[in-house]
Amino acid sequence: MLCSGEKHVKTAPELHLTLLARHKLMFSMSEKELGKKWDRCLADGAIKLGTGLGLGIVFSVLFFKRHTWPISFGSGAGLGMAYANCQNDLRSHYLLHRSQKEQ
């Protein structure tokens, strides 16, 4: 599906680019982004929760004599980190990143 005519003879990298662009175009659906973000959020939350829990458990078992506070602490920390990450991810569009700022 190359453009006909002399004007539109493209080189290989351009071709690659246009394929990517087309791909992007074809499949870019901005409404799916939120869903993706939520997915990531949840996944991240789950992971962080689990990790936090686990670490909490570990720490509670290991270091803190089977208190429950390190578990709640860890899970809370994990949840909190996940919350923060989710929020950040969701906000990421509205925040100017340092690289953009520098630019």
């Binding site: 599906m1 453009c3 006909s4 005519g5 246009t18 087309r22 175009l25 074809m26 870019s28 659906m29 901005s30 409404e31 982004e33 939120l34 919350y83 989710c86 929020q87 969701l90 906000r91 569009h93 509205y94």
Partner: protein, 754 residues
Amino acid sequence: MLRVCLRGANATARRNCGRTPLTNLQHCRHYTAGETSGGAAKVVAAGLVTVGGGIGGAILYAKWDHKFRAAVEKNVPYSDWLLGLALGPASQDGGFPVKTQMEIAQPPSMMEKQMKTSKAKPEKKVKEAAESPAKETGPVPAQPAQSLEEASAEATHIISAISEVPSVPAPCDTEAAAVKEECKETAAVQPDTESPAAAEPIKERPVEEVAARLAQQDQEEQDIVASISASLEESLASSAKATLQAIGAQEAALQAITRHTHKLKEAMEAEEKSAQWKDLEAALADRTGAVDDAGAALLKANEALDSLKSVIDKSKGLKASAVRPLVLAAEENLHNMVVDLDKVVTKVQSAESEAKIVSQYSELVNEAKQQFQREVSSLTPEIQANWKGLTGKLSVDDLNALIAHAHRRIDQLNRELAEQRVREQIHIDAALEQQKLEDQKALEKAVNTSLQHFKEEARLEQERKLSELREVMEAEMRTQLRRQAAAHTDHVQDVLKVQDQELRAEAEQVLSSKMLEQETCYRQLSQEQLDNFTLDMNTAYARLKGMEEAIDSHVVAEEQARKAHQLWLSVEALSYTLKTADADSPTVPLESAAQVVRDSCGDSDFALALASALPEQSLQRGVYSEASLRARFNSLRSLVRRVALIDESHNSLYQYFLSYLQAVLLFEAKQEAPPAHLSSEDLDPFKLLSYASYCLEHGDLELAAKLVNQLRGEARRVVEDWLTEARLTLETRQVISLLSAYANAVGLGTTQAP
């Protein structure tokens, strides 16, 4: 003054303050006004009187003095109108004196000129009257002067009659002066003719009349001359004949007398013979006859001469100038004849006197002879008279007697001689006296005749000289006239030349203008023809061209139509490709169709622009259909509802939770008709969504996109792609609709008419 009064009024008002200052003031004002009015009226009246008096005085003075009036009129504007009203228009006495003088000067000269012409007229009349034989005017010596005047008057009359130029003042004056002199002269010469001249009407005769008169006069003169010459010739001839006859007679008489004398001498010397005596007698008879004839002829000649003289006098009295030479010649002839006659008469008289002497002598001799004869006969009675031949016949006695007689005779003669000698002186004196008397008489007579002759000769000489002078003068006058005529002819020639030139120039101009006209006409016509021809040619050519163009345009139009059809078809194909989109997947990439469209565009920039205005993505990737977009929107809607509260400032998770809550709790209409104007309330996302879904349901993607475009924040981010897709679709659809419209239009245009 008014101020003073007002001050006074104010002062009174102040004094009477409170009481009615206003009325007081008014009173005062009345008073002051009255006072001032009184004073002003006086001043005004005085001024008016002065001005009126001045004006009246000026008018009166202007009426009296015109120079003043003129000065006033010149210096003061509108015064001429006023003065005209008052006095009437300015009289022209001092106005133009020069002109009137000139005008006055002109008529007198004209009058004088006409008077001169009228004077010349009566002269002519007088001449004509004089020509009639009844009248004889003027003595002869006055005639040459008169004739001079006549000639000069004639000449001036001719000149004035021929040159009928209206008199110009300057030459007119001199002419008037000259004319005046002439008038005076002629008046002096002919005082008797002035009175009839004044009574005549004064007008200048025309040239033809003058010429006719002149011709008539010439004719008359010629007649007179002819008659006079005839009469003169006649009388001359007769007198000449008579004179010749007389002269001949006188000559004959003379000859007869001489012959007689001679014969007598001969007879005396020779012996007396009867033949001689007879001859003598015959001669005597001859002589007497001749003398008588001569006398008669002389009488006749004298008569003839007298008649000739009378004729000459008569002709002199006629005063015709051409007759003068004839008269002169006649007079000369007369004089010559008279002279000849007198000469001959004197000759005859001398001959007669001689003859008388001779006859006396012969008588004496005869007497002596007779006495001697008697004596001899008394002595010798027997001896005959002819004693010369008797020498041989005489005897001695006779001879002695003869000798004694002779001696006696001799003695007697001696005695007589002595006596004569004694009385010689007395005799001689007496004879001398006698002779003197006779000589005196003869001298007187001769002197008288010669005086007469000389007088006559002198008179004739004078006449001749006069005639010569007259001729010379005539010649001079003729030359002058000729010169004048020559000058006049030159002038006329010059004028004619100038006129000729002018006329020629005029004619040439007219000709050239006419020619130019004709040429321009011709050129115009030819140009017109040419123009018409070119016009026709052009029209024909244009029609041909038109036809060709029509045919070409037909071809072109058909081509265009074909192209348009192709375009339409391609556009239709393009628009059909739009319909190939399924619910979820986009259409086929429009590239090929667009390419076909581009190819079938041809040279239509509009179509090309449109074809190239198709968005790249639609060409590469294709576009979503409306239905898919609708479906997508419907799925989007719930998402947008969920993130309605999220924007730049509100984007924490808590906000997310709230917005989710809102979405759950808030109910809006599924579809709501969007208003014509969006207010700020309508910018709520839920409302916008309902509007947009309404629009989508009703197929208005554009409005739906516009409404969706109003979303802000996260909702906007979420619908961004949908919006882009919608935009793409809309763009593509717009371009395609434009193209199809264009193709339709072109197709319609091409199919209907070129």
